[in-house]
Structures are given as structure tokens and as C-alpha cells.
């Protein structure tokens, strides 16, 4: 368990920072609601939507008007479908890049490899601690909206947000698994971060192609299908988890080849 303790010690401030930043962003969405509600009349929403569709036809533009219908659709659209997935994606890049590349860069990998810890345990500890942190940040920053909604005198559709997270979390795990694997390919955190960012940019390409939008991981993370009462895309979530397992195995194979 020593290696899990080590990973926790190394990443605990990242967890604290992540929770603070995302909770602040989450609350910012709440604070903006009265102002948005005043500004975004149905006519204004329709006008804005049509303008954006004409200006950027390649963008996967959801219908804006229903987004401002109610407290829950606004909050879901601005949080789960926008701020949360964007911020968590950045967080994943920052968290995963140094896991192996940073250790090589600092020379601390030699310390770890010279101890009687199996490579599987090293890889598992890094993976599980960081995945747990990502999930925890997403959960805390989302469900802080529940008491805040009550304070604001609004009802909170907890099941909608829970299903949104259930659909998104396998996607977050998959993105982390890819970035984690990429971290084993480099000896410098910045290079690993840049390579992961390029990888994520490639994954976002289907979002811009109308016929292939359903293949975009980021579209799944946005979870518009749940706003349209289409239910959770369980098969896609399962595929994300299978791909994650594949990248975990690849990371393990690469880690066994590491020389200090």
C-alpha cells in the first residue's frame, strides 16, 4: 500500500485545487442564472442559435431555447454539457502527463524501480488514485449544486445530473487512460502533455463532421441525449471502459520496459 500512499501524497493538492476550482466554476454558473434568464428571452435564444448555426455550421449546436426553459436544463447545459467536461479534460491532461514522464524527468523513477514494488502495482496505484480523484472532483463540483439549488429556492433534478455523470465518467476514464499511456512514451512532462493534447484534438475531429458526430467522445461527455430524454448510452460507456482497459494494459507493457 506504500505506493498508493505515495501517489496520494503527490496528488492531494491537485485534488484540493481541482475541487476548489471546479466548485467555484459550478457556483459561477448558478450566480449567472438570473442575469442569463433576463437576457436570454426565447426570441433572443432562437436568434442566437440561428446566427451561430450560420456562422459555424461545423459546430454541433444544440437547440438553445430549451436550455433556458428551466433551472435544471440551464444548469445541466451550462455545467455537465459545457464547463465540467471542458475543465475535467484540461485537468486530465495536467494530471496524467507527469505520471511517468515527470518521474523520469526528475529521476525519481529510479527510486521507485529500485524498491521491491511490482510494476503492476506501480501502474495500478498511479491509475486508480488519479481516476478516483477525477471522479471525486466531478462528483463534488456537480452535487454542490444540490444544496445551492435549495438555497436558491429551486428544485434540483438529481437523477438527471447523476445520469449525466454516469455517462460522462467512462469517457473521462478513457481520456485519462490515453493520456496516462502517452506519459510512458516521453521523458518530459511538457512533451507528454503536448502529445496528449494533440491526441485529444484528434478525438474531437468527429464533432465537426455532421455524419460522424456520434463517434465523438466529447459529444458523449456533453450528454445532450439526456436532456432530450433519450436515456444513458450504456453501450458507448461500456466501449469507453473496454478502450480504457486496453490502454491500461498498454501502459503496463510500456512501464515494464522502462529502464532507470
Amino acid at each position: 500500500m506504500g505506493i498508493y500512499y505515495k501517489e496520494w501524497i503527490e496528488s492531494r493538492w491537485r485534488l484540493v485545487t481541482g475541487i476548489i476550482v471546479l466548485t467555484a466554476l459550478s457556483l459561477f454558473n448558478v450566480i449567472m442564472y438570473p442575469w442569463i434568464q433576463t437576457l436570454m428571452t426565447p426570441d433572443m435564444a432562437r436568434l442566437m442559435e440561428s446566427m451561430m448555426r450560420q456562422m459555424m455550421p461545423f459546430i454541433d449546436m444544440p437547440a438553445l431555447e430549451p436550455m433556458f426553459d428551466s433551472w435544471n436544463t440551464y444548469l445541466y447545459g451550462s455545467w455537465i454539457s459545457k464547463t465540467l467536461y471542458q475543465t475535467i479534460t484540461i485537468f486530465i491532461l495536467l494530471a496524467a502527463a507527469p505520471l511517468f514522464a515527470g518521474e523520469e524527468n526528475r529521476g525519481t523513477l529510479q527510486f521507485l524501480l529500485s524498491k521491491p514494488i511490482s510494476t503492476l502495482e506501480i501502474v495500478s496505484a498511479k491509475y486508480l488514485v488519479n481516476v478516483a480523484e477525477i471522479i471525486l472532483i466531478a462528483l463534488v463540483s456537480t452535487f454542490i449544486l444540490y444544496p445551492v439549488s435549495l438555497i436558491m429556492g429551486e428544485s434540483f433534478n438529481a437523477s438527471l445530473f447523476a445520469l449525466g455523470l454516469i455517462q460522462a465518467i467512462p469517457g473521462y476514464i478513457m481520456l485519462f487512460s490515453i493520456a496516462f499511456f502517452i506519459s510512458t512514451l516521453f521523458k518530459d512532462s511538457i512533451k507528454a502533455l503536448a502529445a496528449s493534447a494533440i491526441g485529444f484534438a484528434i478525438l474531437s475531429v468527429p464533432s465537426f463532421l455532421p455524419d460522424f458526430r456520434h463517434l465523438s467522445v466529447f459529444r458523449i461527455l456533453q450528454g445532450f441525449n439526456l436532456l432530450e430524454n433519450e436515456g444513458v448510452m450504456w453501450s458507448v460507456a461500456a466501449i469507453f471502459l473496454i478502450i480504457s482497459a486496453g490502454f491500461f494494459i498498454l501502459t503496463y507493457i510500456m512501464a515494464t520496459k522502462k529502464e532507470a
Partner: protein
């Protein structure tokens, strides 16, 4: 005869076209203090990393405790204390956090010894490693290596960068540990006086090849050096004695290196009109320089 703790059989290691180790073969007996000497880039650190399973040899085979090393083996690593050449401790950790990280992996971790060394080395337990001096980091590495109660202690330039007082304390700790337990120590060093002081066996390595491996006593006997003052001038031509080499001097005063059958060489020298003959103690440094210039 007991099995050697370390055995290398024709170990080779190449990095691209550069040969770091070439057919390195030697063994280290149990409970010995083995000094591994060589100039920079000789292959000392590569050899140590191969023994630890941190690098793979290109060909040949290394054995530790009789087990072939084919990569990292946690079962073998749990019996080895390792002090690396480079600073590999986590800078944002405290000594307590580093200890808590590694302790669970060593069933023989000695808590009493941990407390003793934390006090003896005056290591601040809650200060970050990034605030430690080089000497403190080295001492913490030694503490981590000794508290596991290792059967084998491998150290790569352990006293590099330490001041003389710190180096003395470091070596004193090692000597005490060896006296109290039955561990085998394998260590590389540039500091020849410390190797001379504590090692019982010494190996010289150059360009990845073993040049010499001897017991310290044998090594010092082997390279006898004599200062001779004759009663009258002796021409160099009269000193062509087998096993005797003139290192410097002319006329009445000479310094000779005596190798091979020393007694016979001395007998031949004594046939000449010797006024004073004294045995000059050869330091390991003299031997090292000689070995490195030889081949």
C-alpha cells in the same frame, strides 16, 4: 564453497554503437566489502543497474543470490539495500513520508534502527527533501538501505559530494553495520582512500572491462615499491633484474617497482652495494593510477 552473492558471467551492455560493458566476469563473496573502482564512464553504474535489474544486459548473465537477473525482481530487491549515485528522492516529500512509502515493502524493516539513524544522522523528519542538503539526502538514502536489514548493500558512489567529516561518519556507520550484521557490501567509488580503508576486495574496471580483481592485502603486496640508496653510483644497465622496474632515479638513488617473485628480485638487488633499502607503502591510489595507465 558458499555461493557468491553476486556473479557476472561475460556481461556485455551496448548503447547503440557504444560498448559500456565488454565481457565483464567476476563474483563477490558473501560478507565481503567489495570496492568497484574505475574512472568516469568505465561502466560502474551500468554494472550496478544491471545487478538491480534496472537495466538489461545485451548479452551474458548476472546473478544475485544465485538468481539470474532478467529484469526487476521484487523478491530479490527486497533483500538489497541500494544507495544510488543520483539524487532520486521525491523533493516534495518529507523523510517520514519517504519512509512510510517504502516501509511496507520490506518485511524485515527495523523500526528501532530507523529511530536510531534518524537521531544519529540528525535528519529533520518533517522537512521537505528539497530543503535537505546533499549530505542529508545521502544519509536518508543510507538509512533507507540499512533499515531493511539487507543481505546485500549496493552503493553507487555513496559519498560523492560529501565533505570529509560527513564522509567519515558515513563510512563509520557502514563499518559498524558490517561488524554487527553479516551483510555483503558492493560499492563503487572515486574516493580511493575510503575504499582502501573499508574494502577487503577490490576490482578495477576500465572501458567496461575488468582489469584486476584482488584481495586488498594481495593487491598491496603484489605491487611492492622500494626506495634504494646505493653506496656508489650504479648505472641503469646494471639494474636489469627480472621483476624489477626502475620507476625513477639515477646514480645512487632509485625507486623500483617489484613484481612477480619479490624475494628473488630482492636477493639480486642485495648483491649490489646497497646502503639503504626501504619498503614504500603503496597506496590504493598509486595502484589505481598504475592500473589505469597499464592497459
Amino acid at each position: 564453497m558458499p555461493e557468491p552473492v553476486i556473479k557476472l558471467e561475460s556481461v556485455c551492455k551496448s548503447y547503440g554503437n557504444t560498448k559500456a560493458l565488454a565481457n565483464l566476469t567476476f563474483s563477490v563473496e558473501a560478507q565481503s566489502i567489495f570496492g568497484f573502482l574505475g574512472p568516469n564512464g568505465a561502466g560502474k553504474s551500468t554494472t550496478i543497474k544491471i545487478l538491480m535489474g534496472l537495466r538489461k544486459s545485451s548479452s551474458g548473465q548476472a546473478f544475485v543470490f544465485g538468481n539470474p537477473i532478467k529484469g526487476r525482481n521484487p523478491a530479490i530487491l527486497s533483500r538489497i539495500g541500494y544507495v544510488p549515485e543520483t539524487d532520486s528522492l521525491y523533493p516534495s516529500f518529507t523523510a517520514n513520508q519517504i519512509i512510510a512509502t517504502v516501509k511496507p515493502y520490506y518485511p524485515n524493516w527495523d523500526i528501532g534502527l530507523e529511530k536510531t539513524y534518524l537521531e544519529k544522522f540528525e535528519l529533520p523528519q518533517n522537512k521537505k527533501i528539497s530543503e535537505y542538503s546533499l549530505g542529508m539526502k545521502r544519509k536518508l538514502q543510507l538509512l533507507l538501505a540499512l533499515c531493511i536489514r539487507p543481505e546485500l548493500l549496493i552503493m553507487d558512489e555513496p559519498t560523492l559530494g560529501l565533505d570529509p567529516i560527513m564522509r567519515y561518519k558515513f563510512l563509520q556507520t557502514l563499518v559498524l553495520e558490517v561488524a554487527q550484521s553479516n551483510i555483503t557490501i558492493f560499492f563503487s567509488s572515486h574516493n580511493l582512500s575510503e575504499v582502501e580503508r573499508i574494502c577487503d576486495t577490490v576490482a578495477f574496471i576500465k572501458n567496461g572491462q575488468l582489469i584486476e580483481l584482488k584481495k586488498m592485502e594481495e593487491l598491496k603486496k603484489k605491487g611492492q615499491r622500494l626506495r634504494v640508496v646505493f653506496q656508489k653510483d650504479i648505472p641503469q644497465s646494471a639494474l636489469a633484474i627480472p621483476g624489477v622496474e626502475i620507476l625513477e632515479g639515477s646514480g645512487k638513488h632509485y625507486i623500483f617497482s617489484v613484481s612477480g617473485d619479490g624475494a628473488k628480485a630482492l636477493e639480486e638487488l642485495n648483491k649490489l652495494p646497497v646502503f639503504i633499502m626501504e619498503d614504500m607503502d603503496l597506496s590504493l591510489e598509486d595502484i589505481f593510477v598504475e592500473k589505469m595507465e597499464e592497459k
